[in-house]
Symmetry: C2
DNA sequence: TAGATTGTTAATCGATTAACAATC
DNA sequence: TAGATTGTTAATCGATTAACAATC
């Protein structure tokens, strides 16, 4: 019944979430021309305990050198490899509103192995228009195009009320993963992976933390 | 040394993150005119275990009725209360790029107690322009305005390299919380709360889950 | 009443942290 | 060599789940 039923035997998800954080530090070190980085280096910048960094990095399979740490370039490519960010995954985006447009315009995804190849909407007001150089297509064309282009990933940025509908469309198009930016819980078959990216969860945490100071 | 040092004695953060999810179900029930909702109702829609829902709701302090569950309207207002979403927090947004514009255009924040009252940028290309009806001001005006308007919250949507600078500016303006959409770790004094909302963390999780199916 | 659902106390599970020997 | 840092094994901590009596 759990979301993670098929996902055993890998790094703990909290560790996976921290890996991109390590990448930002690593890239900084690389720019500065440093060859080695230790877990204490990480811990000082990120306010984490060195032992936690060591455990996290161990999950990627990298092996360090006592007294030195890890080779910066090697660790970067190991993490990229671990995350599968060295080969591009092509994605369709559904919902070309404010948030969808923002994601279309975010250039950083390319470096993270994500390539949004097309965007779709239901509204005649945006269909045919172009946002950040990408043409918005009618949602009706999605299933056919997805199969022809072998697109594996769908990004949902429609309002909550339309999210399930968008998910159904993507599933019927044979997609294998969904990045869901709507606050809705999606019902999909067990072979489809869903990652919820819900701003309201983050805002809830922030609100509670802030409230503690009143 | 931990981020949560000052934040003891409240609901566990994973529970807090789930509360907005319950709200979407509750609002659906309310629209349908239902008076009562049980933890099994929640669990069926959200694929959670009833016991987890019960534990989560207990943290808000609400008391249910055996055999009936919880009063829909009462539970909604209890959660809103718990999150502090019934009175508006005013916020400044720093960085009027693609993501910043999207957040400026997101009408859902009002319902979640968040009111973005002004946006700031460093670029002369956007200063003076208006996005979704909100004028973009020069970052130089931020400290003075923040103090005069008693703004408590800052939202950072600048590129990683400018994030610390933006945080310093907000901190010097007396802000007490930061919602950080950049991938950088921010260094702030202990009385300032930071909530990181990092897309790359979510993408990392999604990538690992997807990779598991290859 | 009978039975569904609550609230509470205890058991389990998984992630974080500690301790320490191995190593360069 | 001496000491910093690694990798590993064990202890702790906190969240999830189970069990069950209380209740309407």
């Amino acid at each position: 019944m759990s979301d993670n039923e098929l996902l055993k035997n890998s790094a703990p998800l909290p560790s996976v979430r921290r890996l991109p954080l390590y990448l930002t530090v690593l890239e900084e070190f690389e720019r500065e021309g440093k060859e080695w980085i230790s877990t204490t280096d990480f811990s000082e910048v990120l306010f984490l305990k060195p032992i936690q960094v060591r455990k996290d990095l161990a999950h990627t399979g990298i092996i360090g050198k006592p007294k030195k740490g890890f080779k910066v370039t090697e660790l970067i490519s190991t993490i990229y490899n671990f995350l599968g960010w060295n080969n591009l995954t092509e994605a369709f985006l559904v919902g070309a509103g404010a948030l969808g447009s923002a994601l279309l315009g975010y250039s950083g995804f390319q470096r993270h192995g994500l390539n949004i190849v097309a965007a779709f909407d239901v509204s005649v007001n945006v269909i045919g228009k172009s946002i950040h150089g990408k043409e918005i297509l009618s949602i009706e064309k999605l299933p056919d195009l997805a199969r022809r282009m072998h697109v594996r990933l769908g990004i949902i940025t429609v309002p909550a009320a339309r999210a399930q509908e968008a998910a159904d469309c993507l599933v019927s198009a044979g997609i294998s993963g969904i990045w869901n930016f709507s606050p809705s819980k999606l019902h999909v078959p067990p072979n489809v992976v869903v990652q919820r990216e819900d701003l309201s969860s983050g805002l809830a945490v922030l609100s509670v933390k802030l409230g503690r100071f009143d």
